[in-house]
Symmetry: C2
Subunit: 200 residues, 2 copies
DNA sequence: GTCTATACAAAGATAGAC
DNA sequence: GTCTATCTTTGTATAGAC
């Protein structure tokens, strides 16, 4: 994909906004901060985004496209690209965590917006409600290998909930914490051995 | 404990602040909102709290004291008050969840501040860092019954992480979601039967 | 496409009267 | 203990020049 000069500018804006949102959330993020970060004045920035709402939408769209890359990557890590392939759930989740460990800025933004979205006033309220409804469902569309009698929906749901919690703990003190190590500990509880041994 | 008129006023302030924090977080919460909620002007409110930082401290202390009530209650629900008693971990966690289901305002506040505390600029950064360091440790001081070979720290840690995630999902759509039901699903994954059957 | 200038509201906070 | 009045800074946003 060739990138025009304007798209590049928009990507810089989105990136700066994601960073700011991860530090102070929606209400603590100001147009001035973003304008400074990308070397524009406030009206200069508003030329691109219209208003604060537009800035959020732009950033969310950009984030969504980057998330898709993450999912592709996670699949790649399972080394199976065939749509009829049978996947290892622990391995896929490990792939997501590994990817997230490399982009703390995204995870920071996601964690804060996810919490702010509790309130119906949040511009992200519907976005995260929708995510809650679809995340587990989407993953259930793949064919997973698992021990007999496993409640796949329950396991996936618990895993994603625990992942959100683990990521926040990691980011509270990223210098003394290793996301991948934290997840390995979580994994041992959610996918206990020896039952999951053949499916890791 | 007898309550003077001033303490009562302070409690009203703390309660209004907790509610506001749960809606818009630290940066979205203003002195004006709190002043309106308790029927004061901004300077009237500042007479009690000094500045915004003081308002936060006041609220956090009030919240902490209410959390202690929660722990007492959770123990009570296990029907064992003897310090040498042996506790059921699923049952204790269920008690906490049951209690939280009755105070969505507190959980909302906690969830948002916990996420905002990712940033070192947050007035709550150290508070939540400290909580992360001590929460599991404190619970390990009790005597828990569990299957042979269980990694109690890993299980507790995963349970609390999942609980944070579950609570946010619940609050995203509390009308169509039941926290206790969500937790029962999580519980079945973290404490799988039949191994945990005798310890529920 | 980006700026200066500007409008207007609201933020946190203080002085000082009652 | 609570108010009015006020200060200063910062927020989102627009008009209009270049």
């Amino acid at each position: 994909m060739a990138q025009s000069g304007e798209n590049n500018q928009i990507e810089r804006i989105a990136q700066a906004t994601a960073h700011a949102l991860g530090r102070r959330g929606y209400y603590g993020t100001t147009l001035q901060q973003i304008a400074d970060a990308v070397g524009l004045t406030k009206p200069g920035l508003l030329h691109y985004v219209g208003n604060k709402q537009g800035l959020m939408q732009l950033t969310l769209e950009w984030y969504d496209s980057s998330v898709k890359v993450s999912i592709v990557l996670a699949q790649y890590r399972t080394r199976e690209q065939d749509p009829h392939a049978i996947y290892s759930m622990p391995s896929a989740l490990r792939g997501i965590v590994q990817f997230n460990a490399l982009r703390p800025d995204h995870v920071r933004m996601f964690s804060i917006l996810n919490a702010e979205a509790i309130s119906a006033e949040s511009p992200f309220h519907e976005y995260f409600q929708n995510r809650d409804r679809t995340l587990v469902r989407d993953f259930l569309n793949y064919r997973w290998k698992a021990p007999e009698g496993t409640d796949l929906a329950a396991v996936l749901s618990t895993a994603f909930n625990a992942m959100d919690g683990v990521q926040i703990r990691w980011l509270h003190d990223p210098r003394h914490t290793d996301l991948n190590a934290l997840w390995r500990q979580t994994e041992r509880t959610i996918f206990p051995l020896p039952q999951w041994e053949p499916y890791m």
